[in-house]
Symmetry: C2
Subunit: 152 residues, 2 copies
DNA sequence: ACAAACAACATAACATGTTAATTAATATCT
DNA sequence: AGATATTAATTAACATGTTATGTTGTTTGT
Protein backbone atom coordinates (compact mmCIF):
# COMPACT_ATOMS: atom_id res chain seq x y z
CA UNK A 1 0.00 0.00 0.00
CA UNK A 2 1.31 3.38 -0.99
CA UNK A 3 1.53 6.15 1.58
CA UNK A 4 2.74 9.68 1.49
CA UNK A 5 5.76 8.64 3.50
CA UNK A 6 6.71 6.20 0.75
CA UNK A 7 7.11 8.91 -1.83
CA UNK A 8 10.79 9.69 -1.94
CA UNK A 9 11.61 13.33 -1.52
CA UNK A 10 13.26 14.87 -4.52
CA UNK A 11 16.94 14.63 -3.75
CA UNK A 12 19.19 17.52 -3.06
CA UNK A 13 21.28 16.97 -6.17
CA UNK A 14 18.15 17.35 -8.29
CA UNK A 15 17.86 20.89 -7.03
CA UNK A 16 18.09 23.31 -9.90
CA UNK A 17 19.58 26.16 -7.85
CA UNK A 18 22.22 23.81 -6.47
CA UNK A 19 23.08 22.37 -9.87
CA UNK A 20 23.49 25.85 -11.32
CA UNK A 21 25.52 26.95 -8.33
CA UNK A 22 27.89 24.01 -8.54
CA UNK A 23 28.36 24.49 -12.27
CA UNK A 24 29.09 28.14 -11.77
CA UNK A 25 31.57 27.40 -9.01
CA UNK A 26 33.39 24.90 -11.19
CA UNK A 27 33.66 27.39 -14.04
CA UNK A 28 34.73 30.23 -11.79
CA UNK A 29 37.52 28.12 -10.37
CA UNK A 30 39.09 28.39 -13.82
CA UNK A 31 38.73 32.14 -14.21
CA UNK A 32 39.07 33.61 -10.72
CA UNK A 33 42.72 32.86 -9.99
CA UNK A 34 44.10 34.91 -12.88
CA UNK A 35 41.81 37.80 -11.95
CA UNK A 36 42.82 37.63 -8.32
CA UNK A 37 46.48 37.76 -9.26
CA UNK A 38 45.72 41.16 -10.71
CA UNK A 39 43.62 42.27 -7.76
CA UNK A 40 40.24 41.95 -9.47
CA UNK A 41 37.13 40.20 -8.25
CA UNK A 42 34.89 38.51 -10.83
CA UNK A 43 32.39 41.34 -10.37
CA UNK A 44 34.99 44.04 -10.97
CA UNK A 45 36.08 42.17 -14.08
CA UNK A 46 32.51 42.11 -15.38
CA UNK A 47 32.30 45.87 -15.04
CA UNK A 48 35.56 46.37 -16.90
CA UNK A 49 34.43 44.05 -19.69
CA UNK A 50 31.18 45.94 -20.06
CA UNK A 51 33.06 49.23 -20.36
CA UNK A 52 35.40 47.80 -22.99
CA UNK A 53 32.38 46.85 -25.06
CA UNK A 54 30.58 50.13 -24.70
CA UNK A 55 33.00 52.98 -23.83
CA UNK A 56 30.47 55.01 -21.82
CA UNK A 57 27.66 53.65 -19.69
CA UNK A 58 25.63 54.99 -16.82
CA UNK A 59 25.45 53.05 -13.60
CA UNK A 60 22.03 51.60 -14.25
CA UNK A 61 23.10 50.21 -17.61
CA UNK A 62 26.18 48.64 -16.06
CA UNK A 63 24.00 47.17 -13.36
CA UNK A 64 21.80 45.47 -15.94
CA UNK A 65 24.57 44.23 -18.20
CA UNK A 66 26.66 42.88 -15.35
CA UNK A 67 23.81 41.47 -13.28
CA UNK A 68 24.87 43.52 -10.29
CA UNK A 69 22.44 45.23 -7.95
CA UNK A 70 22.95 48.96 -7.61
CA UNK A 71 24.22 48.90 -4.03
CA UNK A 72 26.95 46.43 -4.96
CA UNK A 73 27.78 48.32 -8.11
CA UNK A 74 27.95 51.58 -6.22
CA UNK A 75 30.69 50.21 -3.99
CA UNK A 76 32.48 48.53 -6.87
CA UNK A 77 32.61 51.73 -8.92
CA UNK A 78 33.97 53.67 -5.97
CA UNK A 79 36.67 51.06 -5.61
CA UNK A 80 37.59 50.98 -9.31
CA UNK A 81 37.62 54.76 -9.49
CA UNK A 82 39.91 55.04 -6.46
CA UNK A 83 42.30 52.65 -8.21
CA UNK A 84 42.23 54.70 -11.40
CA UNK A 85 40.68 51.97 -13.53
CA UNK A 86 37.47 53.82 -14.37
CA UNK A 87 36.45 57.44 -14.66
CA UNK A 88 33.14 59.11 -13.83
CA UNK A 89 31.35 62.32 -14.64
CA UNK A 90 27.76 63.38 -14.13
CA UNK A 91 25.70 63.57 -17.30
CA UNK A 92 25.10 67.13 -18.48
CA UNK A 93 21.51 66.48 -19.50
CA UNK A 94 20.55 64.63 -16.32
CA UNK A 95 22.56 65.45 -13.24
CA UNK A 96 21.37 62.33 -11.48
CA UNK A 97 23.10 60.07 -13.94
CA UNK A 98 26.72 59.08 -13.50
CA UNK A 99 28.55 58.32 -16.73
CA UNK A 100 31.31 55.78 -16.36
CA UNK A 101 34.16 55.04 -18.75
CA UNK A 102 37.34 53.02 -18.62
CA UNK A 103 40.72 54.70 -18.17
CA UNK A 104 43.89 53.86 -20.10
CA UNK A 105 45.08 51.98 -17.04
CA UNK A 106 41.85 49.99 -17.02
CA UNK A 107 42.20 49.27 -20.71
CA UNK A 108 45.74 48.09 -20.19
CA UNK A 109 44.67 45.74 -17.42
CA UNK A 110 41.96 44.38 -19.70
CA UNK A 111 44.47 43.71 -22.48
CA UNK A 112 46.63 41.84 -20.02
CA UNK A 113 43.87 39.64 -18.67
CA UNK A 114 41.71 39.12 -21.72
CA UNK A 115 43.96 36.66 -23.58
CA UNK A 116 44.39 34.57 -20.44
CA UNK A 117 40.65 34.33 -19.95
CA UNK A 118 39.92 33.67 -23.60
CA UNK A 119 42.42 30.83 -23.50
CA UNK A 120 40.70 29.32 -20.51
CA UNK A 121 37.35 29.69 -22.21
CA UNK A 122 38.68 28.01 -25.32
CA UNK A 123 39.99 25.21 -23.19
CA UNK A 124 36.64 24.63 -21.55
CA UNK A 125 34.94 24.74 -24.94
CA UNK A 126 37.28 22.10 -26.28
CA UNK A 127 36.99 19.87 -23.24
CA UNK A 128 33.21 20.07 -22.99
CA UNK A 129 32.49 20.28 -26.69
CA UNK A 130 31.38 23.26 -28.71
CA UNK A 131 28.01 21.78 -29.55
CA UNK A 132 27.19 20.94 -25.96
CA UNK A 133 28.23 24.39 -24.86
CA UNK A 134 25.91 26.01 -27.39
CA UNK A 135 23.14 23.68 -26.33
CA UNK A 136 23.73 24.61 -22.71
CA UNK A 137 23.51 28.32 -23.54
CA UNK A 138 20.26 27.74 -25.37
CA UNK A 139 18.75 25.77 -22.53
CA UNK A 140 19.77 28.35 -19.97
CA UNK A 141 18.36 31.18 -22.07
CA UNK A 142 15.12 29.34 -22.58
CA UNK A 143 14.85 28.52 -18.90
CA UNK A 144 15.19 32.18 -17.99
CA UNK A 145 12.66 33.12 -20.65
CA UNK A 146 10.06 30.59 -19.54
CA UNK A 147 10.45 31.50 -15.90
CA UNK A 148 10.32 35.24 -16.48
CA UNK A 149 7.20 35.16 -18.60
CA UNK A 150 5.32 34.10 -15.48
CA UNK A 151 3.65 36.38 -12.95
CA UNK A 152 3.63 35.40 -9.20
CA UNK B 1 42.40 41.47 -45.29
CA UNK B 2 41.78 40.09 -41.87
CA UNK B 3 43.33 41.75 -38.87
CA UNK B 4 43.23 41.04 -35.21
CA UNK B 5 41.03 44.06 -34.70
CA UNK B 6 38.48 42.50 -37.02
CA UNK B 7 37.95 39.50 -34.82
CA UNK B 8 34.88 40.27 -32.77
CA UNK B 9 35.33 39.87 -29.07
CA UNK B 10 33.22 37.12 -27.60
CA UNK B 11 30.19 38.90 -26.32
CA UNK B 12 29.22 39.26 -22.73
CA UNK B 13 26.12 37.15 -23.10
CA UNK B 14 28.23 34.27 -24.27
CA UNK B 15 29.93 34.28 -20.91
CA UNK B 16 29.35 30.98 -19.19
CA UNK B 17 29.54 32.39 -15.65
CA UNK B 18 27.05 35.11 -16.57
CA UNK B 19 24.66 32.68 -18.24
CA UNK B 20 24.73 30.41 -15.20
CA UNK B 21 24.31 33.38 -12.88
CA UNK B 22 21.30 34.72 -14.73
CA UNK B 23 19.66 31.31 -14.84
CA UNK B 24 20.21 30.86 -11.15
CA UNK B 25 18.80 34.29 -10.40
CA UNK B 26 15.69 33.56 -12.44
CA UNK B 27 15.12 30.28 -10.62
CA UNK B 28 15.76 31.77 -7.20
CA UNK B 29 13.22 34.47 -7.85
CA UNK B 30 10.63 31.69 -7.69
CA UNK B 31 11.86 30.10 -4.48
CA UNK B 32 13.23 32.91 -2.35
CA UNK B 33 10.01 34.81 -1.56
CA UNK B 34 8.32 31.95 0.25
CA UNK B 35 11.49 31.27 2.23
CA UNK B 36 11.87 34.90 3.15
CA UNK B 37 8.32 35.04 4.42
CA UNK B 38 9.40 32.46 6.95
CA UNK B 39 12.65 34.22 7.77
CA UNK B 40 14.92 31.83 5.93
CA UNK B 41 17.67 32.60 3.44
CA UNK B 42 18.26 30.15 0.59
CA UNK B 43 21.42 29.02 2.35
CA UNK B 44 19.65 28.39 5.63
CA UNK B 45 17.03 26.41 3.73
CA UNK B 46 19.71 24.25 2.11
CA UNK B 47 21.07 23.35 5.54
CA UNK B 48 17.63 22.42 6.81
CA UNK B 49 16.97 20.27 3.74
CA UNK B 50 20.25 18.47 4.22
CA UNK B 51 19.39 17.72 7.83
CA UNK B 52 15.97 16.39 6.87
CA UNK B 53 17.63 13.98 4.49
CA UNK B 54 20.26 12.80 6.91
CA UNK B 55 19.21 13.39 10.54
CA UNK B 56 22.75 13.91 11.88
CA UNK B 57 25.65 15.47 10.04
CA UNK B 58 28.86 17.11 11.09
CA UNK B 59 29.64 20.60 9.88
CA UNK B 60 32.08 19.49 7.20
CA UNK B 61 29.53 17.15 5.66
CA UNK B 62 26.91 19.88 5.64
CA UNK B 63 29.41 22.20 4.03
CA UNK B 64 29.96 19.75 1.18
CA UNK B 65 26.34 18.85 0.64
CA UNK B 66 25.14 22.44 0.70
CA UNK B 67 28.05 23.96 -1.21
CA UNK B 68 28.75 26.35 1.62
CA UNK B 69 32.22 27.30 2.77
CA UNK B 70 32.93 26.58 6.39
CA UNK B 71 33.06 30.20 7.54
CA UNK B 72 29.62 30.87 6.09
CA UNK B 73 28.25 27.65 7.48
CA UNK B 74 29.68 28.42 10.89
CA UNK B 75 27.68 31.64 11.07
CA UNK B 76 24.57 30.02 9.63
CA UNK B 77 24.60 27.21 12.19
CA UNK B 78 25.01 29.71 15.04
CA UNK B 79 22.00 31.56 13.69
CA UNK B 80 19.83 28.48 13.24
CA UNK B 81 20.78 27.17 16.66
CA UNK B 82 19.94 30.48 18.31
CA UNK B 83 16.52 30.28 16.67
CA UNK B 84 16.00 26.74 17.89
CA UNK B 85 15.84 25.19 14.44
CA UNK B 86 18.90 22.97 14.80
CA UNK B 87 20.70 21.33 17.67
CA UNK B 88 24.40 20.68 18.14
CA UNK B 89 26.59 18.44 20.28
CA UNK B 90 30.24 17.60 20.04
CA UNK B 91 30.99 14.08 18.85
CA UNK B 92 32.06 11.76 21.64
CA UNK B 93 34.70 10.03 19.56
CA UNK B 94 36.20 13.24 18.15
CA UNK B 95 35.77 16.36 20.21
CA UNK B 96 36.61 18.58 17.30
CA UNK B 97 33.56 17.52 15.37
CA UNK B 98 30.21 19.20 15.87
CA UNK B 99 27.22 16.98 15.21
CA UNK B 100 24.20 18.87 13.96
CA UNK B 101 20.60 17.70 13.85
CA UNK B 102 17.27 19.32 13.18
CA UNK B 103 14.87 20.15 16.04
CA UNK B 104 11.12 19.52 16.04
CA UNK B 105 10.65 23.23 15.34
CA UNK B 106 12.98 22.96 12.37
CA UNK B 107 11.14 19.91 11.12
CA UNK B 108 7.86 21.73 11.42
CA UNK B 109 9.17 24.66 9.45
CA UNK B 110 10.35 22.26 6.78
CA UNK B 111 6.95 20.62 6.54
CA UNK B 112 5.39 24.02 6.09
CA UNK B 113 7.73 25.16 3.34
CA UNK B 114 8.42 21.93 1.51
CA UNK B 115 5.06 21.63 -0.30
CA UNK B 116 5.24 25.23 -1.44
CA UNK B 117 8.68 24.73 -2.90
CA UNK B 118 7.82 21.41 -4.47
CA UNK B 119 4.84 23.03 -6.14
CA UNK B 120 7.05 25.77 -7.58
CA UNK B 121 9.50 23.17 -8.76
CA UNK B 122 6.73 21.20 -10.42
CA UNK B 123 5.56 24.36 -12.10
CA UNK B 124 8.98 25.10 -13.52
CA UNK B 125 9.28 21.52 -14.67
CA UNK B 126 5.99 21.74 -16.49
CA UNK B 127 6.73 25.11 -18.04
CA UNK B 128 10.24 24.23 -19.17
CA UNK B 129 9.60 20.60 -19.96
CA UNK B 130 10.67 17.54 -18.04
CA UNK B 131 12.95 16.29 -20.77
CA UNK B 132 14.74 19.58 -21.15
CA UNK B 133 15.18 19.84 -17.42
CA UNK B 134 16.76 16.41 -17.27
CA UNK B 135 18.97 17.31 -20.20
CA UNK B 136 20.03 20.49 -18.43
CA UNK B 137 20.94 18.55 -15.29
CA UNK B 138 22.99 16.15 -17.35
CA UNK B 139 24.83 18.91 -19.15
CA UNK B 140 25.58 20.74 -15.91
CA UNK B 141 26.84 17.58 -14.26
CA UNK B 142 29.02 16.77 -17.22
CA UNK B 143 30.38 20.30 -17.34
CA UNK B 144 31.43 20.11 -13.71
CA UNK B 145 32.96 16.71 -14.28
CA UNK B 146 34.97 17.77 -17.32
CA UNK B 147 36.22 20.92 -15.64
CA UNK B 148 37.15 19.22 -12.39
CA UNK B 149 39.11 16.43 -13.99
CA UNK B 150 41.65 19.06 -15.06
CA UNK B 151 44.66 20.21 -13.08
CA UNK B 152 45.78 23.89 -13.17
C1' DA C 1 4.80 77.97 -11.33
C1' DC C 2 4.25 74.53 -7.83
C1' DA C 3 3.31 70.27 -5.44
C1' DA C 4 3.36 65.45 -6.01
C1' DA C 5 5.21 61.52 -8.21
C1' DC C 6 9.05 59.41 -10.11
C1' DA C 7 13.92 58.10 -11.27
C1' DA C 8 19.08 57.57 -10.40
C1' DC C 9 22.20 56.89 -7.28
C1' DA C 10 23.97 56.46 -2.53
C1' DT C 11 23.92 54.72 2.17
C1' DA C 12 22.60 51.62 6.04
C1' DA C 13 22.27 47.18 8.00
C1' DC C 14 22.73 42.58 7.94
C1' DA C 15 23.72 37.91 5.62
C1' DT C 16 26.83 35.50 2.75
C1' DG C 17 31.32 34.66 -0.16
C1' DT C 18 36.17 34.30 0.33
C1' DT C 19 40.93 33.98 2.00
C1' DA C 20 43.89 33.98 5.89
C1' DA C 21 44.88 33.27 10.56
C1' DT C 22 43.59 30.98 15.12
C1' DT C 23 42.31 27.48 18.36
C1' DA C 24 41.73 23.01 19.95
C1' DA C 25 41.78 18.09 19.24
C1' DT C 26 43.59 14.13 16.88
C1' DA C 27 46.98 11.56 14.22
C1' DT C 28 51.67 10.51 12.91
C1' DC C 29 56.50 9.76 13.40
C1' DT C 30 60.54 8.74 15.68
C1' DA D 1 55.91 9.27 25.41
C1' DG D 2 56.86 13.62 23.09
C1' DA D 3 57.46 16.67 19.21
C1' DT D 4 55.32 17.56 14.83
C1' DA D 5 51.93 17.55 11.46
C1' DT D 6 46.90 17.29 10.32
C1' DT D 7 42.24 18.12 10.84
C1' DA D 8 37.61 20.43 12.44
C1' DA D 9 35.78 24.36 13.46
C1' DT D 10 35.92 29.27 14.51
C1' DT D 11 37.19 34.05 13.96
C1' DA D 12 38.88 38.11 11.41
C1' DA D 13 38.71 41.14 7.62
C1' DC D 14 36.97 42.67 3.56
C1' DA D 15 33.97 42.30 -0.82
C1' DT D 16 29.51 41.26 -2.44
C1' DG D 17 24.24 40.10 -2.14
C1' DT D 18 19.97 41.98 -0.62
C1' DT D 19 16.25 44.85 1.15
C1' DA D 20 15.02 49.19 3.05
C1' DT D 21 15.71 53.98 3.33
C1' DG D 22 17.61 58.52 2.09
C1' DT D 23 19.02 62.28 -1.22
C1' DT D 24 18.89 64.75 -5.04
C1' DG D 25 17.38 65.77 -9.67
C1' DT D 26 13.71 65.26 -13.11
C1' DT D 27 9.02 64.69 -14.74
C1' DT D 28 4.05 65.07 -14.44
C1' DG D 29 -0.33 67.10 -13.37
C1' DT D 30 -2.95 70.94 -12.31
Amino acid sequence: MTQLSDIPMRHFDRSLPMALLRAREAVMKKFSPALKEHGLSPQQWRVIRALIEEEVLDATEISERCALLMPSLSRILQNLQKRGLVDRKTASDDQRRSLVSITPAGRKLFRTLSPINEARYAHITEKFGYGKLELLYELLDELVQKIDEEPT
